[in-house]
């Protein structure tokens, strides 16, 4: 009502007010656009559904005890080989490269088993531990009990280009009942350019998996 009255009888004051309103309208439009842009930008910080379902990682480096609260894993040694000799002395060859990780594990409270780990490159390509080496030959086989350290091997079959800067992620075995936010240990193997080149250029001809 008042608006119509004002419009029918424009005064100097109301005209100045209108001009001010137009200015503030541009300002609020800019502010609105800025807020919308900020909201869109914040969306990119959100987790993707895949990240949301991912295990909770505890990170560490080579030779370090990495404790998730449920289990602790330590990577003792990394080696590369063209052929791996299994516990039953059977040679297994590859066209790629075998990365043999010697690791130790212990549990905090209850006996458990480790799953087959994954080797992850800096660009996020993940290689499951190879099934060419029977799982019974790996650290996924023995029970991991509280108060004891067990050690063993995990073997990955990867192209030589995947070695540099790679990490290994250890978790629990896959089960039908999916547990949310599973614990995971992620160990940086500390393979900088020089060490990676050393591993890939001179892999061992035969790496025997032997209980030490």
């Amino acid at each position: 009502m008042t608006a119509t009255q004002e419009r029918s009888a424009p005064t100097r004051r109301s005209r100045r007010a209108a001009r001010g309103r137009a200015g503030s309208r541009t300002l609020s439009a800019i502010a609105g656009l800025a807020l919308v842009a900020a909201a869109v930008a914040v969306q990119t910080l959100g987790l993707t559904p895949n990240d949301r379902g991912a295990p909770i990682s505890t990170t560490g480096s080579l030779g370090e005890d990495v404790d998730t609260g449920r289990f602790t894993v330590r990577v003792d040694k990394v080696a590369a080989a063209r052929t791996v000799e299994t516990l039953s002395a059977e040679p297994v060859a590859t066209e790629q490269l075998f990365v043999v990780v010697t690791a130790s594990a212990t549990s905090a409270k209850e006996p458990l088993k480790l799953g087959q780990p994954r080797l992850i490159t800096p660009d996020g390509v993940s290689y499951e531990a190879t099934d060419k080496i029977p799982a019974t030959n790996t650290l996924a086989n023995p029970w991991v009990q509280p108060g004891f350290w067990v050690s063993g091997f995990f073997v990955f079959e990867v192209p030589a280009s995947a070695v540099q800067g790679s990490k290994v992620a250890f978790g629990l075995p896959k089960s039908a009942l999916v547990e949310p936010f599973e614990p995971e240990v992620e160990v940086d193997l500390g393979l900088d350019e020089a060490k990676a080149a050393q591993l890939t250029s001179a892999p061992q001809d035969v790496y025997p998996l032997k209980k030490s």
Binding site: T4, T48, P49, N50, R52, G53, V92, A93, T94, E95, Q96, R118, G124, V125, S126, Y127, E128, T130, D131, K132, E157, V158, P159, A162
Partner: protein, 220 residues
């Protein structure tokens, strides 16, 4: 809104919006009646033969050959075993390890598979099997069920040839493809077989039909 402006006595009826709305609704209705905007499945998928390469999304696959293989008996008195082997060279184009898997026994439900052999949705003629088929990756004589990312591996799908049944002259494979997308009721991304919905059931979309001549037929 309907404030009368000076000089125009009869209020104009807003015609444009309802008219456009009507046209849109009619268009939508006709499109829906004609089967929607989905692509009509191609009744004649592209044909491939020996040695050709196909991009299946998750895998890049070369169809090397089909061959009849005779395995000598290990013990005297046993019969020689005969197999039909389909040979592929498969490159895993994904960022994670894939399974070799098994060709699906039925077309229904096959869309849920994400393994390599799972994409061989129809193999004809269908060969009677007692235990098979059996699929594996092989390199330097070592078998595996894994296809590591970025690596090209030979994959063999092996069918038993029971009794005196002759190997077929030709084998035809209907091959599906994969897409990296969220699941039906799971928002996380994964490799999913490209499938079409027909009468509330999903069927894999045939990306290519491969016809392979069977080599070494009847030898030995």
């Amino acid at each position: 809104m309907t404030e009368p402006s000076s000089g125009d006595d009869s209020p104009r009826r807003p015609v444009l919006v309802p008219a456009v709305g009507l046209v849109l609704a009619t268009g939508l209705g006709i499109t829906a009646l004609l089967g929607g905007l989905n692509e009509v499945p191609d009744p004649n998928p592209p044909q491939y033969s020996n040695g050709q390469e196909l991009d299946q999304g998750r895998f890049k696959t070369q169809f090397v050959e089909a061959r009849e293989v005779v395995q000598k008996p290990r013990f005297t008195g046993d019969e020689a075993k005969r197999f039909l082997e389909l040979v592929f060279k498969v490159t895993n184009q994904g960022k994670e390890t894939a399974r070799v898997g098994m060709p699906p026994a039925k077309l229904e439900g096959a869309f849920a598979l994400s393994s390599f052999a799972g994409s061989l949705v129809k193999v004809s003629p269908s060969l009677k099997q007692q235990y098979g088929p059996y699929a594996y990756a092989v390199s330097k004589g070592v078998q595996s069920q894994q296809l590591q990312p970025g690596v090209t591996t030979t994959v063999i799908v092996r069918y038993d040839l029971l009794g005196d049944a002759p190997a077929p002259e030709k084998v035809t494979l209907d091959v599906a493809s994969f897409e990296w997308k969220p699941g039906f009721n799971d928002p996380s991304f994964a490799w999913q077989m490209v499938a079409d919905e027909v009468d509330d059931a999903f069927f894999p979309e045939v990306k290519a039909r491969i016809t392979l001549d069977v080599k070494g037929r009847g030898s030995a």
